[in-house]
Amino acid sequence: MTAELVFQQALNGLSFGALLFILASGLSLVFGMMDVVNLAHGAFYMLGAYVALSVVQLTGSFWLAMLAAPFALGLLGFALEPLLLRRLRGRHLDQVLLTIGVSLVIVDVIGQVWGREVRSLSAPAGLDGSVALIGGVYPVYRLFVMAFGVALAVAMALVYRRTKIGMLIRAGVEDAEMLGALGVNTNRLFASTFATGAALAGLAGVIAAPVFGVQPGMDTDPGLLYSLVVVVVGGLGTLSGAVAGSVLVGPADTFGKVLFQDVALAVIFAIVALVLLLKPTGLLGRIRIAR
């Protein structure tokens, strides 16, 4: 492997990591606040991509899709939480099971409405070129993804630490019940959190589409599989955990695919196994006992 190739793959790994962060942050946020692992997260991701497909078809604007998809998913999440999850408040395991059912429905509906062929979404004009970098050319879009991921992480960190909402979220992650006792409208907080998680998943779907395509099965691969791996490795429920997990899994997966091709995921398996054996709560995680 030449130095240029290594550099290219490193960039690929980092842009994949950035994407993973956008994807996994929503999952981690919802768990941190509500102790629920939203197994429909992959389906939300998939729905975001398909919604983007339609928006681009209708309006020709990728940027509009980037706004519309998260918005639509946010609405969906905001509706689903009180409709389904709230009925099972306190029964965390059952809430997770509920999200499985939701996932089944969403994926089937997507197949019905948009069809089951492999579709694609091109990068927006202006970002679809390549730029000269060390050792050749590199797609601009992937650099955009990287920059977007970093920007999102920074933005989330700022909101988390400097704003009132962020304080509510931090408190909620610690002890949501206590917040309720203090007079915070936890119903609205949970619904908003779930909506935000869904919106983030939808956003990831849009941004990933030009790179990974839009097709059946994307809800599990890369959707749910990678978001789960990232939070297991990095630590569930924290922003830094999502960052740590993405930064580790992104490049590891890319290099794994280059070096091992067919059994590339064995590398991921090994990493997950190592983390589980050495630090079961994830590299930067705090485990929450949830039954």
Partner: protein, 322 residues
């Protein structure tokens, strides 16, 4: 009911089940036999998952990894080992599934509840992805075709009726095993681990080993179910190890009623019905059996958590109060 009478009834029902294709030939089509056969394979799979979900309190969403491992092992063994003999291929399936369950089990067995669910899902997904991409060994996304016929000496089980008998006999054996296990000291220990693991440890039970043994046992039986599936269709698809299959089994167990013998069996009947019969009732371009399954699942989680068996018990209670 006297024990002897009960056993006689069970034996009669088992015999009727095993010989189904023969006595139903006049009025049932071949299709009916395949539907029941596939339902029985799902029942074996679901019974094995119930050992974890229902008895040991280990909600696993990655059980299809073992089903798929068994299917692939049986198929690959029949091709690579140039033998079609059932003991060899079935043995390979059980062994590979057991080893995989041991590997994954060691990693997940110390976690509980949601975290356990997540880990089993993630690890099984990785296994699936490996199966999907390892074209050289598993046929990758094209699947593994040409699985050998299951033979016992010179008896060819690939004939549809005999295949059914093989599946049905396995089902009866597995059901008996699960029933016996539930009533044994081991089964009671599993319930103890489920109800209060801390207490069990304080009593001197090695709960980690108990859970691991349950995990491996369940995985092995799932592997056998997978092998049977491979024999029936002579084909192994990567989806056999996929999340969809794991979810399917979980839905079957919960909707039927976790922790009971009848639950997984009833659940398999219902799920098979939905998967087979519903598409034939709907227009061909409306493929929403998964969505229907999802809605039913949601309904049960919300309103009938103990599944159909639970509903039945509730109804019986109401009736007996009158």
């Amino acid at each position: 009911m006297r024990p002897f009478l009960r056993w006689a009834l069970v034996a009669a029902a088992a015999a009727a089940l095993v010989t189904f294709p023969y006595w139903s030939a006049p009025w049932a089509s071949r299709f009916a036999t395949t539907v029941v056969r596939d339902a029985l394979i799902l029942a074996i799979f679901a019974l094995s998952l119930d050992l974890l979900v229902g008895r040991a309190g280990m909600p696993s969403l990655g059980h299809a990894a073992f089903f798929g491992a068994g299917a692939y092992a049986a198929g690959i063994a029949s091709q690579r080992l140039a033998t079609d003999q059932l003991p060899v291929t079935l043995g390979a399936a059980a062994l590979v599934a057991a080893l995989l369950a041991l590997l994954i089990g060691v990693l997940v067995v110390r976690s509980e509840g949601i975290f356990f669910l997540m880990l089993t899902l993630a690890l099984a997904q990785i296994v699936f992805a490996i199966a999907f991409q390892w074209t050289a060994v598993t046929g990758g996304s094209n699947g593994l075709a040409g699985v050998g016929r299951p033979m016992l000496a010179s008896l060819d089980f690939s004939a549809p009726d005999l295949m059914y008998v093989l599946v049905a006999v396995t089902f009866v054996l597995v059901a008996l095993a699960v029933w016996g296990l539930a009533r044994s000291t081991y089964g009671r220990a599993l319930i103890g681990v489920r109800e209060n693991e801390r207490r069990m440890r304080a009593l001197g039970y090695d709960t980690a080993r108990l859970r691991l043994s349950a995990f491996v046992l369940a995985g092995t039986i799932a592997g056998i179910a997978g092998a049977l599936s491979a024999y029936s269709t002579r084909f192994v698809s990567a989806q056999d190890a996929g999340l969809g299959n794991s979810v399917r089994a979980f839905v079957t167990v919960l909707v039927g009623g976790a922790g009971t013998l009848g639950g997984p069996i009833l659940g398999s009947a219902l799920v098979s019905l939905i998967e087979r019969v519903v598409p034939s009732l709907l227009p061909t371009d409306l493929r929403i059996s998964d969505a229907i399954l999802g809605i039913i699942f949601i309904a049960f989680v919300l309103f009938a958590r103990q599944g159909m068996v639970g509903l039945g018990r509730f109804a019986l209670l109401r009736v007996s109060r009158r």
